[in-house]
């Protein structure tokens, strides 16, 4: 088994890198894949919180990098899936505690044991970004449909082009069909046109996602959520299936269908 190492990055903070990492990881695990999540946001770790695994951390990424423990010892098994593991970041150090060579070494150690290694990248373009990217073969760029996030995603894609890495894929997070229809935010097509990279998937903006993160349970576990479906579709695309993009439009309620049938404008 030779795993793919995929870095999940965005440039701008707060667009949902960690949520995306946790959910793609969970969705892949749901498909029976062996997945390892690596949190590289040293000093501001929160992938463990989103996964609800905070209380189980003993060793972390820096311990593994510096040889205080074996990489395998630092891994935490997920509550829900045996095939999903997390390598948490250190909370007491900063980004310079690890260098790209150490990251590569860790990824290479894990690679034979997993199908997917997802690396959650910190915001910014400094040391933390360089560390996260150094071990990866592929990249997923997460953005939201607003100008600032797209600008930063563009910058990140430019930086990734200089790395020895496959062309990045795009995930557009927090898509709001109601706002983009009125022209208040960019729509997904605008984002893809500007960034000129392949779209891997889009995630609609939903309350469920926030609620799930609050509970420490990834939304991908919830079968009734459209955001969850978005993440599951991304996982299937990563496995090589061709899954059509789902419509952003919400299904009309029975009542509004009746209204339009009778020609009443809703």
């Amino acid at each position: 088994m030779v795993g793919e190492a995929i870095v999940i990055t965005s440039g701008k903070g707060g667009v949902g890198k960690t949520t995306t990492s946790a959910n793609i990881g969970t969705a892949l695990a749901l498909q029976g894949q062996k997945v390892c999540l690596i949190d590289t946001d040293i000093g501001l770790r929160n992938l463990d919180v989103v996964m609800g695994l905070e209380n189980r951390i003993i060793y972390d990424l820096v311990d593994a990098a510096e040889g205080r423990c074996k990489v395998q010892q630092a891994l935490i098994r997920d509550k829900r899936f045996d095939c999903l593991h997390l390598l948490p970041a250190a909370q007491t150090k900063d980004k310079s505690a690890v260098n790209p060579e150490q990251m590569q070494e860790i990824v290479e150690t894990l690679r034979p044991e997993y199908d997917f290694i997802l690396i959650d990248c910190p915001a910014g373009i400094e040391q933390g970004f360089k560390n996260a990217v150094s071990g990866a073969d592929k990249a997923i760029v997460v953005t939201t449909p607003d100008t600032a996030a797209v600008r930063d995603a563009d910058r990140i894609i430019g930086l990734l082009e200089n790395e020895d890495i496959e062309p990045p894929k795009l995930v557009v997070n927090r898509v709001r069909s109601d706002l983009s229809r009125e022209g208040n935010v960019l729509d997904v097509e605008d984002v893809v046109a500007t960034l000129a990279v392949d779209l891997l998937g889009m995630i609609v903006d939903e309350e469920h996602v926030l609620k799930a993160a609050h509970k420490g349970e990834p939304i991908a576990m919830n079968p009734n959520s459209r955001a969850s479906l978005g993440y599951r579709n991304i996982a299937r695309r990563l496995l090589g299936e061709s899954v059509p993009l789902m419509a952003v439009e919400e299904k009309k309620s029975f009542f509004s269908k009746m209204k339009s049938l009778f020609g009443i404008k809703s």
Partner: protein, 230 residues
């Protein structure tokens, strides 16, 4: 013994004014001496008339900057002569290289993304977009086969006849030599409008108050021809 019979410097009258032809085989020292003598001898001739523009033709002699200055100084001292141009058929390899660079079009197939700076001597042809936050700089013209949404700086070494041409013209900023164009402020939540609908180019217009104007690409040939005469 040097042959100093006044063969090294010839003064010719032409349609455009006086041309001083310098021999390109003798030493520079001899040349300068003779030029001084000749100017002294002809002082009377130069003195009374109105100021004349002269062109200096050095033939196949390579003139360094300091040589050129010496010649110019000797001539300008007379007061009634002003050196318009010092011409020589010879240039150094370095200068030739520069001329070639300035005359070449570098074509680049990439998207110039936020934070990236593409800087070239001569013209640039970009096959791709220039995204917001991306910068393209050229000493000559800039052509974008795609959307220009970032910053373009043409004629960065002072060429004010340079143009910025793009298939989709939505620039944040354009500068040509030292004339600037800034995108109009966005109103409310509206998208930035193109500076011109469809493919267009930006150029410098106006005599006293220079400004950047936009025109449809089909007029570009006309513009380039009109500026090549001046």
């Amino acid at each position: 013994m040097t042959n100093n019979n006044g063969n090294y410097v010839t003064i010719k009258g032409t349609k455009e004014g006086l041309t001083i032809v310098l021999n390109d085989q003798c030493s520079f020292h001899e040349l300068l001496e003779e030029l001084k003598k000749k100017i002294e001898r002809e002082q009377r001739l130069f003195e009374n008339g109105p100021q004349v523009e002269v062109r200096v033709d050095a033939g196949n002699r390579y003139l360094s900057k300091s040589h050129e200055e010496e010649i110019t100084e000797v001539l300008n001292k007379t007061g009634s002569v002003r050196v318009h141009e010092v011409h020589s058929n010879v240039m150094t390899k370095g200068e030739a290289q520069e001329v070639i660079e300035k005359a070449t079009v570098t074509s680049v197939t990439q998207i110039v993304r936020s934070g990236q700076v593409l800087r070239k001597t001569g013209d640039i042809l970009i096959i791709g977009d220039v995204n917001p936050g991306g910068v393209v700089e050229a000493t000559g013209n800039i052509y974008v086969i795609g959307a220009l949404k970032g910053i373009a700086r043409a004629g960065t070494e002072g060429e004010s006849h340079a143009v910025v041409c793009a298939s989709v013209m939505i620039p944040k900023q354009i500068s040509i030599s030292d004339t600037y164009f800034y995108a109009p402020e966005k109103h409310e939540k509206q998208e930035q409008k193109p500076a011109i609908e469809g493919p267009g180019y930006a150029y410098v217009t106006g005599e006293e108050y220079k400004a950047i104007a936009f025109e449809e690409t089909k007029m570009l040939g006309h513009y380039l021809r009109s500026v090549s005469y001046t």
